[in-house]
């Protein structure tokens, strides 16, 4: 019968018309990108050994770099490295060719720029300084290697301490706590309390690491409160 196919088509569109949309509302909802997705080509100068395999592998002359000789050495050092992304085919050949994972793709795919030269990425490694490598030999290392990030180091140290304190408290930690309360008995009460309550445990650990004075006060307050509730419970 003519018209049957038409009605069936109408049925299909109606069915999908009431379904939920399958599209992603892009700027608010980000697309899910697979792990291997190749967005933007990036360069990490720290690993670069200036071998030039990448430029040889590239089919489209995207990559180029400048070198300068290192005094007293056969090696060369990198002066600048240029990725001209407008010619990039994202073919992954350079990444496969690179022996030291200096080149890699990141998931950033919003590469459009207003001007042609903005898409050209130039990496200039920091200037090299001569340091005494011991034994009268001089070695060239990047400048920022000399100035280690103190703040980051401190933060890392603090985090490490915090983690250690947390594990200690979760396993009891009566000895540690004894420093902050008056009696051994109090320490036992506090240890029990902290073992039961994760929130308080975390707070205590943070205080012990950061501010010992405040930790003492809070610990005593905890003990007093706990004693009170225990007493209340017994009365009842």
């Amino acid at each position: 019968m003519i018209g049957k196919g038409l009605l069936k088509g109408l049925g299909i569109t109606l069915k999908h018309g009431v379904e939920k949309p399958k599209t992603i509302q892009y700027p608010e909802q980000r697309p899910y990108l697979q792990e291997r997705f190749r967005g933007c080509l990036e360069f990490d100068y720290k690993n670069c050994i200036v071998c030039g395999m990448c430029t040889k592998a590239c089919p489209n002359n995207v990559l180029s770099f400048e070198t300068a000789p290192i005094e007293g050495s056969k090696k060369k050092r990198l002066v600048s490295y240029t990725i001209d992304l407008q010619y990039c085919m994202f073919c992954n050949l350079c990444v496969e060719a690179c022996p030291t994972n200096t080149l890699f793709f990141v998931h950033d795919f919003e590469l459009s720029t207003y001007r042609r030269d903005e898409i050209k990425k130039v990496y200039i490694p920091p200037a090299l300084t001569q340091v005494d490598a011991g034994g009268g030999q001089a070695e060239l290392i990047p400048q920022d290697a000399l100035e280690p990030d103190r703040e980051a180091e401190a933060e890392a140290k603090r985090l490490k301490q915090l983690q250690a304190m947390k594990t200690a408290l979760s396993k009891g930690g009566q000895k540690v706590l004894a420093k902050y309360v008056d009696t051994e008995e109090d320490a036992a009460v506090l240890a029990n309390l902290l073992q039961a309550d994760e929130k308080k445990r975390d707070k205590m650990a943070a205080l012990i690491v950061d501010d010992k004075e405040k930790a003492r006060k809070v610990a005593q307050a905890f003990v007093a409160k706990e004693r009170k509730t225990q007493a209340g419970g017994e009365e009842k």
Partner: protein, 345 residues
């Protein structure tokens, strides 16, 4: 509620007469007022319709449709209209200037004129013409000329081809359109649209004339140049057919007129086959709006489902299927009326 608008009109007339205006002038001013309101409503309605069409196409295609500007993207069409208004008005150098420029204006004028006889509620037609239905059909035939003017004036082969197609199509489909309406006229015994509505007090004519409704619906789709019969536009074949060379507001006028025609044809279908403003609880003007919108939804649903029919199939479908069917429908209707009259109904 039912007589809200008619009462307002009456109050206005009597107020103007009390001011000392002769009644004929008062009527004239009221007429002008009614026309202005119709034009404003039609234009605003098109904004809603375009939004609705895009939303429906979005839902059918598992998208959201416009959703950025305003709640549910409702202001998107307004932004589009602003864009069209501010666009450069390009007239091709080889175009037939006057014809090119007047075609869209005439198209919209004819489209708006269709509303003169439509009863938009009980006693709510601008002109209560006793040959209202015939007025509708004959004015509809004029829009052919506008498309032909657009196609000819553009001086573009695609345009001319689109115009020729649309003329052939509209002339062929006017015949089944008129014939399918004849069945209704025979049942109602009048060409007056409000009388046809009154005649549907007992049954809606869709129950008595299902074949007529089907032929009317198909022929109306072709008359409206909507998918699957969008021959004159046919983006994929004729780039944009008769509208290829039009830009900015001139193009928007065509768009406006097409949607205006869509509303008019749907409202006519609601009037002739679905009892016009008849319905329980709600006032008649609200009922006709609801019915018109429901019919328009079906038109849109069809457009986003079907592929475009081929030109020669389109013509042979009209001449070989629709016209015989609608003629047979007239014959059967006539026989039925005589039969029931003989039975003493």
């Amino acid at each position: 509620m039912e007589h809200l608008f008619t009462n307002i009109a009456q109050i206005l007339t009597s107020w103007m007469v009390s001011l000392g205006l002769p009644p004929i002038w008062a009527d004239l001013i009221l007429l002008i007022g009614q026309w202005t309101i119709i034009v404003v409503i039609v234009t605003l309605n098109v904004i809603v319709l375009v939004w609705l069409e895009r939303k429906i196409s979005g839902f059918i295609q598992e998208r959201l449709g416009p959703n950025r500007l305003g709640p549910f993207g409702a202001f998107q069409t307004i932004a589009d209209a602003m864009k069209l208004l501010t666009k450069e008005d390009i007239i091709p150098s080889q175009a037939d200037r006057w014809i090119f420029m007047t075609a869209p204006m005439l198209f919209i004028v004819i489209a708006v004129m269709l509303y003169a006889v439509l009863p938009l509620g009980q006693g709510m037609e601008v002109v209560d013409l006793n040959v209202g239905l015939f007025y509708f059909i004959s004015l509809g035939s004029l829009s052919t000329i506008c498309l032909l003017m657009a196609g000819w004036g553009s001086n573009n082969k695609w345009s001319l081809l689109g115009a020729m197609r649309s003329v052939a199509q509209m002339i062929s489909y006017e015949i089944p359109l008129a014939f399918s309406l004849l069945g209704v006229v025979m049942l109602a015994g009048s060409l007056n649209l409000s009388e046809i509505v009154t005649a549907q007090n007992r049954y809606w004519f869709i129950l008595l004339q299902p074949v007529a409704f089907l032929t009317y619906f198909i022929a109306a789709t072709a008359e409206l140049n909507r998918g699957p019969f969008d021959m004159p536009e046919a983006e994929q074949e004729l780039t944009a057919g008769a509208y290829t060379e039009y830009t900015g507001m001139r193009w928007a006028l065509f768009f406006l007129a097409e949607y205006t025609n869509l509303v008019a044809v749907s409202a006519l279908a609601a009037t002739l086959f679905f009892g016009g403003g008849q319905g329980p609880w709600l006032p008649s003007w609200l009922w006709i709006i609801i019915k018109t919108y429901l019919i328009m939804l079906v038109f849109m649903w069809m457009k986003w489902t079907f592929p475009r029919i081929r030109m020669d199939h389109l013509m042979s479908f009209s001449w070989k299927v629709l016209i015989p069917v609608s003629l047979a429908n007239i014959l059967i209707t006539g026989l039925g009326i005589e039969f029931f009259r003989g039975m003493g109904w």
